[in-house]
Symmetry: C2
Subunit: 364 residues, 2 copies
């Protein structure tokens, strides 16, 4: 910790590798393809830890990320965002080198894509199985038919399967709620699979968000899972009940720059540009932006009850202190916080510092 | 616009230069020092536009930013965050080359700083004039005295003056509320100035946040103003009443990747990692993350009533469409949005694209 002089995202490699191996093992036991989402870590090095757990196919959320990981030898990548046809040049560039799977949800996108492609691409059709963010409604069969027909008419395109993201599992606050959402989504998408199985014998059903993949034990009714956040977890997943505190693998270490004993507050160097402005509603504290953890010689320990980030400015944050910690901190100390949403926090920083002092780069 | 294939932060140079010149003119007329905050734009090039308006002294919110601007010839810089003594090496490195002004709010920080310094530094004492974020309470005279005494005892340090930030002006929703907050703050800090004027004849009073500096016409009761956000303005300042829509100088252009006519929504490539997760409460729409503007051949026009970013994922956003726009958009279009908080949005991106097609770098 003595090398820390600025807000620094610490990475506990052991916890991170355990999270990876645990999810990979679960996928193996369910006999489903594990295609983890790499948008959370966006790092070559951490990607290699997945490879060591047998992972060969990945998911990303932009063509820029696809290109970054293709540079490190990943050659089967799904871009899980409705295809952006304005980036056709990047798409062709990637499709030439790797097996590229893209996402569509309209016949128009299929046709524009086909006309701009110079190499073959596999397409997933995005299905809205209840989240209502993107995708064709699972019961809108005329629309699904029309997209499939347009794919069949496109020589540069093949239909790979149906993909869904049950993001509403993030609103769940118990395992049973998560399981209910998962069962509903998987049943809806499997009705489609049955309907089209004869026409497309190899079609796969791809599902998976971190809450569901963490809580559900058996995925055998799907063909592929794509969780991402589980690589680090965070306070949101902890609140949902998708992880334990000792599974959270990243934490932000921040210098204390002022102490306000009169109002039980500390000011840290560490703000919205380090943590992101994602807040979490807590019953007692209201909206919080991070939770302090105990500092240990080998990393960090348990969350400290009642010690949290209550407000974020651009570069600094206000920490609420429990009464009994009145005299515990001084300027120049370093305090470590679990982030609310590790995907956004990791995106704010330039890289990670492992507990053994190694700097790990990410896509910038 | 034809070169835009990804989320791109557009910069209207004319509007930006007008914002700079207008604030610089106001400072000249009030006979106060204009020391703009550069945390909003974080760009050498935009910094030079300030220089063309006669600016010679600046404010930043980290030592990293101070170093970045020192590299472009700025030699009188205030770091307006309570000093982080862990960065003493960077402080010495800067203090050797430029006139560096730091912020303190405790005698402990003054002593640690003095013992680590190898070059001279000027100190502002941060005063809390009502915002309750950082600073010594304006009426805590024993504490102020103790900090001043510790500065006097430090050979490497001089007392420069009192600095305050009335950030609670961001909660105001009318000019008269802003003026009330400003008058209260300035009166409180001027009581201090009078009290210490004999002991420190040159002491200056530094104030300034964008709402106050935009609305108040005469600053002659202060010595220095430090607004930052006004260089771009944004939806928050528009809601506060600190600017007009045609003064907002940045807007994010995003590709449309899906159209959901059944629920009046568009999906854009552009999410929390581009806009930041800062939301704005609107009466009719609830929390919004950006507002669409008309696309014009030479940039963008007025905000479109009822067309706003209602939800942000990591890389994509959901746009609510007014009923009458049902058939106006298709995938592959580019739509432009005013950001909620331009400081955080600008911090998310790697640079700016001017309306004449010039790429402008910023600190990464």
């Amino acid at each position: 910790m003595s090398q820390i002089t600025q807000p620094t995202l610490l990475l506990d490699e052991q916890k991170c590798r355990r999270n990876i191996e645990s999810m990979a093992g679960k996928a193996r036991r369910s006999h489903v393809q594990f295609r983890p989402h790499f948008k959370t870590h966006q790092s070559h090095e951490i990607g290699r830890w997945f490879r060591e757990s047998g992972v060969e196919k990945i998911t990303v959320s932009s063509l820029k990320m696809a290109d970054y990981f293709a540079q490190d030898g990943w050659n089967d990548i799904t871009v899980a965002l409705p295809v952006n046809i304005l980036e056709i040049e990047t798409i062709n560039n990637l499709a030439k080198r790797i097996r590229l799977n893209l996402l569509v949800e309209s016949a128009e996108s299929v046709r524009s894509l086909n006309s701009g492609l110079s190499h073959h691409v596999d397409l997933f059709v995005k299905i809205d199985a209840g989240y209502h963010r993107t995708g064709i409604a699972y019961d809108n069969l005329p629309m699904i038919d029309s997209v499939l027909t347009s794919i069949d008419q496109s020589p540069n395109l093949s239909f790979a399967g149906f993909l869904t993201h049950s993001g509403h599992s993030y609103n769940a606050r118990s395992s049973s709620e998560i399981v209910t959402i998962h069962n509903e989504s998987i049943n809806r998408i499997n009705v489609l699979k049955k309907r089209y199985a004869d026409r497309y014998p190899g079609l796969i059903v791809s599902v998976g968000d971190t809450p569901t993949c963490s809580v559900v034990d058996n995925f055998s009714s799907a063909d592929e899972i794509r969780p991402g956040n589980f690589v680090f977890y965070d306070l949101m997943q902890l609140q949902i009940g998708a992880c334990r505190a000792d599974q959270v693998a990243v934490a932000m270490a921040c210098p204390v720059v002022a102490v306000h004993k009169d109002r039980n507050e500390l000011i840290i160097y560490g703000g919205a540009v380090h943590f992101s402005k994602e807040g979490l509603q807590e019953e007692a504290a209201g909206t919080i932006y991070g939770c302090a953890v105990e500092t240990l010689p080998q990393g960090w320990g348990e969350p400290i009850e009642g010690m949290y980030l209550k407000r974020l400015s651009q570069e600094h944050g206000i920490v609420h202190l429990p009464d009994e910690f009145f005299d515990r901190y001084a300027t120049g100390d370093v305090i470590t916080f679990l982030p609310v949403h590790s995907c956004l926090t990791a995106d704010c920083v330039k890289g990670y510092l492992t507990l053994s002092g190694q700097h790990i780069d990410r896509l910038i």
